[in-house]
Amino acid sequence: MNSGSRRKTIDTVLKVALAVLVFTLPLWIKNPTYMQILIFMLLYAYLTTSWNLVGGFAGVLPLGHSAYVGIGAYTSTILWITWGVSPWLGMWVGAFIAAVVGTIIGIPTLKLRGAYFALSTMAFGEGVRVLAENTVKVGPCVVGGPQGICLPLVPGNNLALFQFVSKTPYYYIILIMLCIALFITWHISRIRPGYYLAAGGEEPEAAEALGVNVSKYKVWAMALSCFMTALGGTFLAQLTLYFYPKQILGLDFSFELAFIALIGGRGTIAGPVIGALLLRPVSEFTRIYLSSVLPGLHLVIFGAILILVMIYQPFGLVRPLSRFYDRMLDALSGEKKKER
């Protein structure tokens, strides 16, 4: 067996082993706290992957994606509490609303320079938060104002109503959602509109000159991204069973999604996942262990990581990590060092 095919075998074995590990993780981990951290990691990976569709591939910087998380969470929850619609159905309604809203916001802003888009999405996100905080009730629907909404508890593990006592079902649901989102991203990066998007993100004028309607594809990406983000919002509502505007519609949430994507590597498929894997534990553990001693330290660390990554690895950590992985494969297969 020559070293090239050996390298390939090792690569496949490692990837299969990783997939098996990810899918069997709930069998090994019994501690609900760790499960919760893992679920959040996957949720952030999912949300950031959705963000990446417009933030990465379309080359703009959306800073108000918490609005769509909120639209998803509020829609499915209000539909369930008021009319008894299962969140499994409600999540699609929420996603549809989010996509429509995203399109409406995207049409004027995506034609402008990136700075306008970043600021407009941020202001829009804040506007949605203020609206939610000022709305206590609309007709029969309870929105809850600044207190937010508490979901009524359902006994036991109820698949039909998307509520479980055990953490394991949540883990698998978000894992499957993440896999689908990653597949969509991968697929888009290989079809014509994906190329148009990338071209429009890098050189809008050149792409326009070649007859690509850049802003049309950007609006599509925005709509799809908002759609997927809202689905994650419903998941978040069902997982925590309580949410309020400052948390689910907050600026910090929107920024954290952008940070994860940028540190991981925006515009790449693995970037958001890597970013979430690296940053979520940092933020969880520093918050658990240091926030009582030094409040805000975890955000200082976040800021510092962000600046260092932007200065030394402006394309995100996915590049050095994939180089490292390649070298590891070389070493394992005994292959001579190649020029890469």
């Binding site: 916001i105 004027p108 402008l112 320079r113 407009s120 506007g127 203020v130």
Partner: protein, 296 residues
């Protein structure tokens, strides 16, 4: 509705709008020259406020005397920030017209500054009693709170000085040249990164001026910058990114909306009206009131 009440609301709105506009002025200057939105702008304002707060608290100076310390300090701070943190990223992204990575670096600076302030000073809201706090000036039946009135005058003076500096000094001309075409300016012998450092320093110094203006009548707390960040972003988009009159007029518009609508509805809803107006402008005139359509 009483005419007097509306006129008083307009006065209040213009006074408030003046320091909103001043806060947005620094942001729009930095954007106009470097083409980068400084997300740390509110945090620089917060640094200016805390510096002024401690000066007044510890020495009992007049809050406007603190300008003598705060302005040079913030200028140096902004100069250094641009020179050490932002410049390397700008150079790495030289070919990108709109370097997003730089926005992210400034966001990192924002997170670090706000949370360092939280660690050092705690989350409580602080007020300091100054020699002008709570004083008013009456003109006929209309009330002008003195700190806000001085703020208005300082805004006018700062804007005038800035325009004069940009128009008539050599450095000001270099800044304008670099903001129009950085490559051509470099070819004319302008050191563009030095120009950027100075523009960023001036932007930061203006944020510091706002900090001093706010001290007599506003709370100081670590996340005070976020309040102004979001307002400034709305103002500069409203007025047109990079436009100096746009920032001032945008500030006045936001101030007027807040104070006039507060006569009719609860103040939490006026905030929403600001966002609605903002989105409406975005649809009708996306480049803002004074923005140039061609470039953005």
């Amino acid at each position: 509705m009483d005419f007097d009440i509306i006129l008083q609301a307009i006065i209040n709105g213009l006074l408030t709008g003046s320091y909103y506009g001043l806060a947005a002025l620094g942001l729009t200057l930095i954007f106009g020259v470097i083409k980068v939105i400084n997300f740390a702008h509110g945090s620089l304002l917060m640094v200016g406020m805390f510096t002024a707060y401690w000066i007044v608290k510890l020495t009992g100076w007049n809050p406007y005397a603190a300008l003598l310390v705060v302005v040079p300090l913030l200028f140096l701070f902004g100069y250094g920030l641009q020179g050490f943190l932002i410049k390397p990223v700008l150079i790495a992204q030289r070919d990108v017209r709109e370097p997003t990575e730089v926005i992210i670096v400034t966001t990192g600076v924002w997170y670090i500054l706000d949370n360092l302030a939280l660690m050092l000073f705690g989350a409580e809201y602080r007020v300091v009693q100054t020699s002008v706090s709570g004083q008013i000036f009456m003109l006929g039946d209309y009330i002008f709170p003195k700190p806000q009135l001085y703020g208005f005058i300082i805004t006018a003076a700062t804007s005038f000085l800035l325009v004069w500096f940009l128009k008539y000094t050599k450095m000001g001309k270099a800044i304008r040249a670099a903001s129009l075409d950085r490559d051509a300016a470099s070819l004319m012998g302008i050191n563009q990164y030095r120009v950027y450092n100075i523009a960023f320093g001036i932007g930061a110094a203006i944020a510091g001026i706002v900090g001093c203006v706010l001290i007599p009548f506003y709370y100081v707390f670590p996340t005070v910058g976020v309040v102004f960040d979001v307002k400034c972003f709305i103002i500069v988009v409203l007025g047109g990114l990079g436009s100096i009159p746009g920032a001032l007029v945008g500030g006045a518009i936001i101030g007027l909306i807040e104070s006039i609508f507060a006569q009719f509805i609860a103040s939490t809803w006026t905030e929403l009206i600001v966002y609605v107006v903002f989105l409406a402008v975005l649809f009708i005139r996306p480049a803002g009131l004074f923005g140039e359509k061609r470039d953005w």
